[in-house]
């Protein structure tokens, strides 16, 4: 890991510190919960149990985490190329459209053909939606933050149009497409497990989670172990040095955005092929935006992103349980807790850092940094 400080044990930087921050966030959240008249310990227990306490909960947590991994990776890849992609939401939306089209068109085909095609289509559509802002940034200098924000809105308009006017199931009032043929669904993890004789609780968790893990490893290998990833990082840090090093920033910028969009597009596979099995409105549910926090909290590193995604997945699922079991803790309170956690684990990361690092720096001699 390239990022850990040179002079403290890596576990302090990567595990202890986030934990301390998490505790601080929970402490503040506990105060809020107490003010609202609930027992904070009970609430935190429900949150924790509801997220990880039993099979189905874990399934939901991992399902959400899958979405966050995709959008987190998307943000991170762009970030390493020096680009701030706020457009994950729109790219995910389009990704869903891409795989949805495959699901609708090739319903009855063998899964071995449909599923890879669906994944490919999701990536392609997501990439295409990010390609345009990338191209405009590289060639015309149009600021990527504005264009990707705009493309989120355009994607929403496009999808609403398509669902209301084109894909809507006739005679139905809900703007959603017909259901795909079950053969084209991304298999649920509980089904796959059942096939090999393991019983796990039923949840929307589907094989997309494997795609997410593969994507994480892939992104890591790509960024830190290939020349293309190398070129991308050089461009992100120093464009002049990139030109000097024989790298064409224009191509890298466009390529990085396309890759970023492709990763965001995979949300479509998880949500559409894996869970909804039909095209619907708003299935992106803000995952694209939260992906920004996930990426930055995960320090733009796939391992960190997976951990942060897990945290957010747990918050989504545990939060739902929280408002389910403790009616006084409405969905808004859950959002407050999420905000606090992002604030403390992300923004106030430096609050305890110097003290904690100082505590550990004294002990071992400045060892050479390990990769």
């Amino acid at each position: 890991m390239a990022r850990s400080s040179d002079d403290v044990p890596a576990w302090v930087d990567l595990a202890l510190l986030p934990l301390v921050n998490l505790l601080a966030a929970f402490a503040i959240a506990a105060v809020v919960i107490a003010i609202l008249g609930e027992n904070p310990f009970k609430a935190l227990w429900v949150l924790f149990y509801g997220a990880l306490g039993y099979g189905e909960a874990i399934g939901f947590t991992l399902y959400y985490a899958t979405n966050f991994i995709f959008t987190g990776l998307a943000v991170a890849v762009a970030f390493h190329a020096g680009l701030f992609n706020i457009g994950g939401e729109g790219q995910a939306y389009l990704g869903g459209l891409g795989c949805g089209l495959v699901g609708l068109a090739l319903g009855g085909w063998p899964p071995a053909i449909v599923l890879p095609l669906a994944v490919l289509a999701a990536m392609l559509f997501g990439a295409a939606w990010a390609f345009i802002p990338g191209y405009l940034q590289a060639k015309r200098g149009s600021h990527i933050v504005i264009t990707t924000i705009m493309f989120n809105f355009i994607a929403a308009a496009l999808m609403t149009y398509l669902l209301v006017n084109v894909f809507i199931k006739p005679g139905q009032q809900s703007p959603e497409s017909r259901e795909f043929d079950p053969s084209s669904w991304m298999p649920f993890v509980h089904e796959v497990a059942a096939r090999v004789g393991i019983t796990i609780a039923r949840s929307p968790l589907n094989m997309s989670v494997v795609v997410a893990l593969v994507a994480s490893v892939g992104v890591w290998v790509f960024l830190w172990r290939t020349r293309w990833g190398y070129a991308l990082r050089v461009v992100g840090h120093n464009e002049t040095a990139a030109v000097y090093g024989g790298i064409a920033p224009v191509r890298v910028v466009i390529g990085a955005m396309a890759l970023s969009g492709a990763l965001a597009g995979l949300v479509g596979v998880n949500a559409i092929m894996g869970d909804q099995h039909r095209l619907i409105l708003n299935f992106t549910g803000g995952y694209g935006f939260v992906g920004i926090a996930v990426a930055l909290m995960g320090r733009n590193h796939p391992v960190g992103i997976c951990l942060a995604a897990l945290l957010f997945g747990a918050l989504y699922q545990g939060g739902a349980e929280l408002s389910f079991d403790l009616p006084r803790l409405t969905k808004e309170v859950v959002v407050v807790i999420q905000g606090l956690i992002i604030l403390f684990c992300g923004a106030f990361e430096g609050l305890f850092r110097p003290r904690l690092l100082a505590l550990f720096r004294r002990a071992p001699a400045p060892a050479p940094a390990k990769a």
Partner: protein, 321 residues
């Protein structure tokens, strides 16, 4: 956590309510559902469980959780619950489900639909009868079939009174924010007033609050939706197109408790008094006796079948342009 098994169900009556994405305080149909449930709680002394969905994945989860945790009857608000309910209702054949605004064809599901077009027709008539400019407006949340049905009924009512009347129609947005953007709602209403409309009908959730406010600020009239919103700006809200979601929820709970709950599809309209227009002290002065009579006559005609109000959703088209 999951101790409530099938055994407990037999004795205990546990009603449950799953709201749609806007949340229970959307000043619109979720809130109507909420007040129906609250009324039931007050009348019967039985508490109910509730959950507000915040993303698409939670719909199925929420319905299943309710059923699994011992709910006797689960009311789901909003058409988007139809597909997940299709799955969950099969899993829990002994649990009663009621869905509002959607159809699920299963024996243990009661599907409640409303003829929004009929209520909208009446307020459309009243708008046309009251308008001095012959121009009226409509502000919808999102361009979806449900909202088009509102708009279409409204247009039919307007045209029935004044075939030459002009109807301006605006949709707020394409994201969920469209239902929560009173600022934009206000602007859309103002744009219609600017073009000469003097009455605007809002069918856009909390966005509609901005429409009502704009009408009030400009001294024009507005028409509320879903709940009776006449009291929000007395003297400025011409009327409200009430949709009896509260009654539907109340009845579902009450019937389930009494054992008279029945599955199947209910398509509720004026005849069932499930939709209608609101006349109370707040808007009394705005509606002349003559207009009141005309609207009530039309209501009787619709109930009797003499006048047919086309449902946009039936053929994806509207006779009144």
């Amino acid at each position: 956590m999951m101790v409530l098994g099938a055994g407990a169900q037999a004795q205990e009556f546990v009603p449950a309510l799953v709201f749609d994405m806007g949340g229970k305080f959307d000043k619109s149909f979720n809130e109507a559902a909420y007040s129906g449930a609250q009324k039931f709680k007050k009348d019967s002394g039985v508490d109910y469980r509730e959950f507000e969905v915040t993303n698409e994945t939670q719909r199925e989860q929420a319905l299943r959780n309710m059923a699994r945790r011992g709910a006797t009857v689960v009311v789901a608000i909003g058409f988007a619950h139809a597909t997940p309910l299709q799955v969950v209702a099969k899993e829990f054949p002994n649990v009663k489900f009621t869905i509002i605004d959607g159809v699920v064809d299963l024996p243990n599901v009661q599907s409640v639909l409303f003829k929004e077009q009929e209520g909208s027709y009446l307020v459309g008539m009243l708008a046309a009868l009251t308008s001095k400019t012959g121009k009226v407006g409509f502000v919808g949340g999102m361009d979806i079939p449900l909202i088009r049905a509102f708009a279409c009924g409204y247009r039919q009512g307007v045209v029935a009174v004044n075939p030459k009347a002009e109807v301006f129609e605006n949709m707020t947005g394409t994201t969920p924010a469209a239902w929560n953007d009173p600022t934009k709602g206000g602007e859309l209403a103002r744009s219609q007033f600017d073009r000469g409309a003097d009455i605007v009908y809002a069918a856009a959730g909390a966005t509609g609050l901005g429409v009502l406010q704009a009408a009030k600020d400009l001294g024009k009239l507005s028409i509320g939706v879903d709940s009776n919103q006449n009291h929000l700006h007395p003297g400025s809200v011409l009327t409200s197109m009430v949709k009896g979601v509260d009654v539907a929820v109340y009845n579902a709970f009450k019937d389930a408790k009494a054992g008279t709950w029945k599955g199947g599809i209910q398509n509720l309209g004026l005849a069932e008094k499930a939709v209608g227009w609101a006349l109370d002290d707040n808007n009394r002065k705005l509606v002349s006796a003559e207009n009141e009579k005309k609207v009530n006559d039309a209501m009787a005609d619709i109930v009797s079948g003499k006048v047919k109000v086309v449902d946009y959703r039936a053929g994806n088209s509207c006779p009144a342009k």
